[in-house]
């Protein structure tokens, strides 16, 4: 089977989802697009099940915090081992109440990836079978990868961050 191309993929997705997919770009050849949080499982399952593109492999789930936009982006990397291409799906959530449907219904491997994302960003994956902290201690009260939490004790006066390129 000939390799599917990014253009072909964009056409297929556009036909199926139309306006619900936006911000399509191709940084360094990796097709990137966004969708809304209501549509995420539908889009992922279309990517996974469609016989032509067949993104059968979930490479990674993570998140990025954009405090100035008051948003957290959940980022999915999927990979089609059949046609040898990757795609990146982003879903922007409100940082006040980040909730999104879990991808564990599609891939078992999403379990720990989502737990890690919850642990560090506080994103609540609805429908996740066991959404607990994974790397941090259970008693922790914050989600440490959010940008408002500094790396070091902010009360230190001996170390000015601007001198250290931070």
């Amino acid at each position: 089977m000939a390799k599917a191309t990014n253009t072909e993929l964009v056409d297929l997705l556009g036909e199926k989802f139309g306006e619900q997919l936006f911000d399509v770009s191709e940084p360094y050849g990796l097709l990137t697009f966004s969708t809304t949080k209501d549509k995420v499982v539908e889009v992922l399952s279309f990517l996974k099940e469609n016989g032509r593109i067949n993104f059968n492999f979930l490479t990674d789930i993570t998140a990025v915090h954009y405090p100035e936009k008051e948003q957290i982006a959940v980022v999915y990397h999927v990979h089609s081992m059949v046609s040898g291409i990757r795609a990146r799906l982003k879903v922007f959530l409100n940082e006040k109440d980040p909730r999104i449907a879990s991808a564990t219904v599609l891939w078992n491997g999403a379990n720990w990836m989502e737990r890690e994302t919850y642990d560090f960003f506080g994103v609540k994956f609805e429908g996740h079978p066991d959404l607990r902290r994974i790397l941090n201690v259970d008693e922790m009260t914050v989600h440490p990868m959010l940008k408002q939490y500094p790396l070091e004790d902010p009360n230190r006066v001996d170390k000015k961050d601007e001198f250290f390129g931070r």
């Binding site: 360094y28 059968n56 490479t59 990397h77 081992m81 040898g84 491997g109 990836m113 790396l151 931070r166």
Partner: protein
């Protein structure tokens, strides 16, 4: 019911399960992780994995560091094959900056990465043998890991956490001694590996312990996002070196071994065959280097490649450049990039978002050990404890990569 008959209630000791804490520091887990197992005799009924004992917040630290200061962090992910992590990171930055790397540099990198892959697989396979009771094989092959570290020492001065290379290439060229050591290794290692295989491949005890244990189907492996030797043992020929060649892997002639049942024996065989293939790749790389212009060991990117130490100490401009590069003062494009390399345990990915600041806006490591390990507790259900131990060894879970 008569009065003097025992009455078994809910507390019946016959039906009671024993809770066993396997870890956090158990000699058989070869790393710091805990599994709380419910045992019925020697059989595991259920298990819960607890991880994070050596979590060091690398992703948070990376958001506060310029590119060069992140390389030592990557050392400490999979510390059994740190050069692959270092170079994976450097290649991610090179991809971001669109740097063209000369062929000779690619080949030198391939040599180092394949040596690290051999070192990684030596650890895993000898440990499987050790955990099944074969101490001889462990001691026998393990010394070649030491020889690989001696080669690294010759190339970069460090052994375990190598911090090897630079953005754009290597810090210095391989010297005569390094080439001599590599050639010596290529001559001696195959002999030892063949002997290692002759001790285990047809060994009745080893086969009885490993064959048919912890079988995984290809579908399950894919669903759990497995990569690397584990996925290949389950029968899927996915290898980043072939599917998305980096560092000129497309120039080499090598094969990707696949297994059929995904059991421990298949994983062992896949890793062994990969060591043979790595030897083949290194031999080809040494041959290819001869036809490349001599003495080139980095790309021409003065904005990101650190100037040599003798220049930094004697020359003002070089000193300024050194300082600017180390402090992340030089602009990189505002972009996001994902780059994956085939690490010892599978696809090691770097997802880098750069917003034009000194340090990455966000850096995420896709760590194969973390993703592979999540199936472990579920796999262990119904398994004998002794089988679960070798199952863990054969997954080659490295605590540094697991917890990041």
């Amino acid at each position: 019911m008569s009065h003097n008959q025992p009455v078994y209630t809910d507390n019946d000791p016959q039906s009671e399960l024993v809770t066993l804490n396997l870890g956090p520091t158990h000699p058989a887990t070869h790393g710091v992780f805990q599994n709380v197992l419910q045992m019925d005799g020697e059989r595991i009924v259920s298990g819960v994995s607890t991880i994070g004992y050596i979590h060091r917040a690398f992703e948070k630290i990376a958001e506060h560091r310029p590119f060069y200061q992140i390389t030592p962090l990557t050392d400490r992910l999979n510390y059994c094959s740190s050069p692959i992590n270092n170079m994976g990171w450097h290649m991610t930055v090179e991809k971001l900056l669109n740097i063209q790397i000369p062929k000779r540099v690619d080949y030198l990198r391939v040599i180092i990465m394949e040596l690290s892959r051999i070192a990684d697989h030596i650890i895993c396979n000898t440990i499987i043998a050790q955990d099944t009771g074969a101490t001889t094989t462990f001691l026998y092959l393990f010394q070649y890991r030491e020889h690989i570290y001696e080669i690294f020492e010759e190339i970069c001065g460090a052994r375990l956490t190598t911090n090897i290379g630079r953005i754009g290439g290597l810090e210095r060229d391989f010297n005569e001694v390094a080439f001599a050591k590599i050639n010596k290794f290529l001559k001696e290692f195959p002999v030892a590996l063949r002997e290692f295989e002759s001790l285990l491949n047809r060994n009745r005890i080893f086969i009885d312990r490993t064959q048919g244990v912890a079988e995984v189907t290809a579908d399950t492996a894919l669903s759990y996002s497995w990569t690397g030797p584990l996925l290949r043992a389950a029968g899927i020929d996915y290898d980043v070196r072939v599917s998305e060649p980096y560092s000129s892997y497309q120039d080499f002639d090598f094969e990707i071994p696949v297994g059929t049942s995904g059991d421990i024996f298949d994983r062992y065989l896949v890793r062994n065959e990969e060591m043979w293939q790595s030897v083949r790749i290194i031999e080809q790389a040494l041959e290819k280097i001869k036809s490349e212009p001599n003495g080139i060991f980095h790309a021409d990117v003065p904005d990101f490649y650190l100037p040599g130490k003798e220049q930094v100490y004697n020359n003002m401009e070089a000193l300024i450049y050194h300082f600017k590069i180390v402090m992340g003062e030089i602009d990189a494009p505002k972009a996001e990039v994902y780059h994956a390399v085939e690490g010892g345990n599978g696809e090691l990915g770097f997802y880098l978002i750069n917003d034009g600041g000194r340090s990455p806006y966000r850096l995420h490591f896709r760590r194969p050990s973390f993703i592979n390990y999540q199936m472990y507790a579920k796999m262990s259900e119904g398994m004998l404890l002794s089988d679960a131990i070798i199952n863990m060894s054969s997954m080659n879970i490295i605590a540094g990569e697991l917890d990041a």
